[in-house]
Amino acid sequence: MRANPDGGKTMRRVAFTVGAVLISGVVTFTQNQINAGRAVPQDRGVDLTGNWNSGQWTEGGGPGGPNDRRPYDFLGMPLNEAAKAWALSHDESRLSEPERQCAYYTPVYHPFGFGGLNMWREDEYQTGSVVAWVIGGFQDFKPQVIWMDGRPHPGPLEPHRIEGFTTGVWENDVLVTTTTHMTQGMLHRRGPHSDRATLTMRFSRHDNILSLTGRVDDPVYLTEPMYVSKEWRLGNNMAGANRAAPPCTVTYEGVPTGDVKHYLPGQNPNVDEMTKMWGIPVETVMGGAETMYPEYRKKLKQTYKRPEVRPVGRTRQGNV
């Protein structure tokens, strides 16, 4: 190799220049990293932090409540024929199967369910940027992380989990979340949603009332999006709030492993339960989108028979 004719001065200059450029680049890079959360002013929305107490009124007391839906009550649900077939094959004892005791409580259960909400915000500690909102766990419900940092949803081949994957944005001071990648779950605990369902939730705070409107889109089981809402009021008992859900623990509930409770097509013995108890025609009880709109009342006017008094008693689903 030929000796350097100028004693290495040129190379030293080049190296010095490159080094200076690199140092400058490192400084700029570091600043960019630090400012990553600040580069674009982050919309921090309104404060949803707190322990929110469930009202349980919009859905007549919520699951297990005094006006809970019966097992084969699909009123006002835009189920397609596949969903109805699935729902009529379903036996409530499935919830006691060891394989399914923890299976039904996807985030779709938030607007359908009866639990309180414990919400808090997770900030990045150096920049203060909001990373996520979190809804604490509740009984069999896993904590739900709502990512606010712009990360993308997983790809179509990524695994689905019961809690799904949720991102959120502030839209005119309403927290709008999108959940994908859920496993199969339930609507109103009475009809199915598939693992291809998408849940959109809008958390809208009015004074100390939190209104949540959920929209479920499901290409497998719904003919049109299903909206449901639920209300909470801000409580003052943060001390009693749990930030981590107890794990859903499988126990023996009377159904042996491998025993899949079900009804074969046309053999569900409870399909007319709503008709006997509440006077609502069977074809109406089976739901469908048309049952969601006021004009459907015209069809009912001649066929509905109002019970003289509210049915009372105790069934395997609890108090009526």
């Binding site: 490159v18 007549g60 009123l75 001071d173 209104s211 929209r215 509905y304 509210r310």
Partner: protein
């Protein structure tokens, strides 16, 4: 040679830095997820005072409510009944009220309900009062009666509600003040309704707290309606009562879905010292319709 080593290392370091920078750039330019509207909290509407009735900054006269509306409520809407179906789409049986926080007086009145008596007394519209009307299966027509008055017609029971904005209210006055100054005429099924465009951020209303501490943008407000002076009526079409001292507070959220669907969500809160143990809150959904072709007025009915 050692300079080439230095240069090689520098180039390698530069390559590493370039690769590390890429995800940051990617995140900053990432579009909103499918199914979500892009964040609008920083845009979409000018900065408003965040105070009722269009407010008014400083000594400026308040804007008319119509001009300062954060969203357009006018048009035809239809209720979407997916919750509490058998208490809303059909008249429930007597005694179907265990989910309503009735006190003993309320329970006694509900248990004694007799639709024939209501018919004989010409009180078929007791279930079509303001406190329960929005939870009914109905279609709505909403229009501006004038710059500060919103009118809402329902085909269920052929009722009309009038929302008067507290536009003339001096800056800083609360909704309650505006309500109390309203003329207390004879009671009606729909009562006297005072409206205000309200911010979700307490700081923008003169209170403390708030999420980011910043003033709310105009588009981030919602319609709050407070109604008093109602005739006693029913919360449910089986005689569950509310009294003449009941106060109805409603919160209207209107938004457009990415698929173009326009939705209106009404949170309905009823306080009644006469018949309720605590505030009763329910939520109703409405979907916007292209026209009024399905408008189907029906008279009040005590039985259907």
């Amino acid at each position: 040679m050692k300079y080439f080593h230095i240069l090689g290392s520098a180039v390698g370091l530069a390559a590493i830095l370039f690769v590390m920078q890429s995800p940051v750039r990617g995140q900053q330019g990432q579009p909103a997820q499918q199914g979500q509207a892009a964040p609008q909290g920083l845009g979409g509407g000018g900065r408003g005072a965040g105070r009722g009735g269009g407010g008014g900054r400083g000594n400026q006269p308040p804007q008319p409510a119509r001009a300062s509306a954060p969203y357009d409520m006018t048009g035809n809407w239809v209720s979407v009944i997916t919750n509490n179906w058998r208490n809303r789409m059909v008249p429930p049986p007597r005694g179907g009220n265990a989910d309503i926080p009735l006190n003993n007086n309320g329970t006694q009145v509900a248990d004694a309900w007799d639709p024939a008596k209501d018919e004989a007394a010409g009180q078929e519209c007791k279930y079509y009062g303001a406190a329960s009307l929005m939870f009914q299966p109905t279609r709505l027509r909403i229009s501006w009666q004038d710059d500060n008055t919103l009118r809402m017609d329902t085909d269920a029971g052929t009722q009309t509600r009038i929302f008067r904005f507290a536009n003339a209210t001096p800056a800083g006055a609360t909704t309650a003040t505006a309500t109390s100054t309203a003329a207390a005429g004879s009671r009606t099924w729909q009562g006297d309704s005072t409206a205000v465009w309200e911010s979700r951020r307490p700081a923008a209303r003169g209170g403390g707290g708030g999420g980011g501490g910043a003033a709310a943008n105009n588009a981030a407000r919602y319609l709050k309606v407070t109604t008093t002076n109602m005739r006693p009526g029913y919360l449910r079409k089986n005689g569950v009562p509310y009294g003449e001292r009941a106060v109805l507070t409603e919160y209207y959220d209107v938004f457009r879905e990415p698929d173009g669907t326009n939705m209106m969500i009404v949170t309905i809160a009823v306080d009644d010292p006469e018949y309720l143990n605590q505030q009763y809150v329910v939520i109703a959904h409405f979907k916007k319709e292209a026209d009024g072709s399905k408008w189907d007025p029906s008279p009040c009915s005590a039985r259907w």
